[in-house]
Amino acid sequence: MASNIPKQQILSLYKSLIRESGKFPNYNFRCYAIRRVKDSFKANKLLTDIKLVRKEVDYAKENLEMIKRQCFFWTRTLIMLHLQNHPRCL
């Protein structure tokens, strides 16, 4: 990431996105959020254009706020998760 956004900041953004995504009570939303965060950071790893990097970072920040607002709905756990000793996406 050759940009004037410090690497540290991007890494901490990634960490908090993963942490907050893991708080979705809904299994499907939780798994999707974690997978999406990982994949989009991976896909944009080689991004060099400062403008584009900024855009992505802003989008990630928006999404972090969104996740914080949205991960409060309680749902019943899936049968699958009751039966198997299942990795619960974190």
Partner: protein, 452 residues
């Protein structure tokens, strides 16, 4: 361990089933976790009623994306103005949100924002386009072309029009579920006002050659309507490149809210429709009635999201469906996929398991939410008209199950569902005398059953 302990007391179903049967099991659950149940009695289904089934019915409806809800919330709680109020800021802010959503929907299908009309769902959009176009041009043209595998609302609208004296051609489809373009071209007459063909079928997931159909319709100067409820946001669509004149869009099939949809109506050359609903003249008079701001904002957000995520979602669908089919085909024989395997949307897999009753398989797969066909007809045991139209045998049509994958389906769910399906298909086949006969090499089709 501690979490399991708490859950087994808090969830009412567990404590009920456990206390009712064996005290011993309860104690074992408390100390060793719920997974013990699945190991101890293999064929029993009684313990599986804890929690919710996995959702595998993405063609019926999709869960609302948290990002969509996040966009909607302000309009549900603080911006409550009527978007048609022109005299105060409450109206202006709602109107701005509605216009923004219109832009987002238009961007997804390559249209202009002015060409989008908000409706209550794809059913209403289909009704407006089929009945509206047919009635408006009825003095000169009284013929409509559709297919045998359309959604119920299109077929029913056509039946209503037949009652009004219109002629309707129901095009047959091939074994793979795709219409023949020669048949279509032959069916078009000078009387024809509208061709209506769905983009992606809701039961078998086949994609029709929309661009080719659009070109034929343009050549013959016939309006082309497509019901894209299952396709919008999932496969790339462009109304100008594909020469689509009218397109129906549904909110709850693109991870948006239920109760909202959109209709694209081309402005140049102008397509005119006779409105079904009379009233205040909102939405250019085509669909009167106050536009529901929060729902429309949700639809707009869902469309923008799927525009952004389309490539990613498509790749995910392809990966999951390949994994699912590979697992099924590797363990089971006599499995027939309904619909074209290539020209179809990967998220919709309709399989027929020969010599297994579809309904009994659905009952056995209690912990997976599945359907044998469209949700509209899921209450009846009749085989679907779509499967009949593609020429599926009566027995295979009875044993079909639709697996609907979505954005939020995980690999673990696919593995679990395929394992369960394989297990129960094998179990049910072992019970079936027909399966035994097939194993012995008897051709079932040639048997003369005696009638009583």
């Amino acid at each position: 361990m501690f979490r399991v302990f708490i859950r087994s007391f808090v969830t009412p179903n567990i404590s009920k089933s456990a206390l009712g049967t064996q005290q011993e099991n309860t104690i074992r659950t408390i100390f060793q976790g719920a997974k013990l149940f699945s190991d101890s009695d293999k064929f029993s289904l009684k313990h599986e009623e804890v929690g919710r089934p996995i959702y595998f019915d993405a063609q019926a409806t999709t869960p609302m994306d948290p990002r969509v809800l996040d966009a909607m919330l302000p309009y549900l709680v603080s911006y409550h103005g009527n978007p048609h109020s022109r005299t105060h800021p409450y109206g202006w802010e709602s109107e701005a949100a509605v216009e923004m959503a219109r832009e987002q929907v238009a961007n997804l299908i390559g249209a202009d924002a002015k060409e989008i009309i908000f409706t209550s769902g794809a059913t209403e959009s289909n009704n407006i386009s089929v009945k509206g176009v047919a009635r408006f041009y009825s003095p000169r043209k009284k013929h409509i072309i559709t297919t045998q595998i359309e959604h119920k609302c299109v077929l029913d609208s056509c039946r209503v029009l037949e009652g009004e004296g219109f002629k309707v051609t129901y095009l047959p489809v091939g074994q793979n579920g795709i219409i023949s373009l020669e048949d279509l071209e032959k069916a078009i007459t000078t009387e024809t006002s509208l061709v209506t063909i769905m983009t992606v079928n809701n039961e078998i997931g086949v994609k029709q050659p929309i661009a080719d159909i659009g070109a034929i319709c343009k050549k013959h100067k016939v309006f082309f309507h497509t019901d894209a409820a299952q396709a919008v946001g999932k496969i790339p669509l462009d109304v100008n490149k594909m020469n689509i004149d009218l397109m129906s869009i549904s909110g709850h099939k693109v991870y948006g809210p239920k109760g909202v949809g959109a209709l694209y109506i081309r402005r140049r050359p102008r397509v005119r429709v006779e409105p079904i609903q009379s009233g205040g003249g909102q939405e250019r008079g085509i669909r009167s009635g106050t536009v529901p701001t929060p729902l429309v904002v949700g639809l707009g957000a869902a469309c923008e999201l799927s525009n952004r995520e389309m490539e990613y979602d498509l790749a995910w669908m392809e990966k999951l469906s390949k994994r699912f089919l590979d697992r099924i085909y590797s363990k089971l024989t006599h499995v027939i996929r309904n619909g074209d395997p290539e020209q179809s949307y990967h998220g919709c897999i309709n399989l027929s398991f020969a010599y297994v009753e579809g309904e009994s398989l659905l009952m056995a797969l209690k912990d997976v939410a599945l359907s044998s066909g469209s949700a509209c007809t899921s209450a009846s045991l009749e085989p679907s008209y779509v499967l009949r139209a593609i020429g599926a045998d009566e027995d295979l049509a009875h044993s079909s199950i639709r697996f609907g994958l979505g954005r939020f389906t995980t690999i673990e769910e696919v593995d679990y569902t395929s394992d369960k399906t394989i297990k129960h298909v094998i179990r049910l086949r072992e019970m079936s005398p027909l399966w035994e006969m097939v194993q012995e090499g008897i051709d079932i089709k040639n048997i003369q059953w005696s009638q009583h």
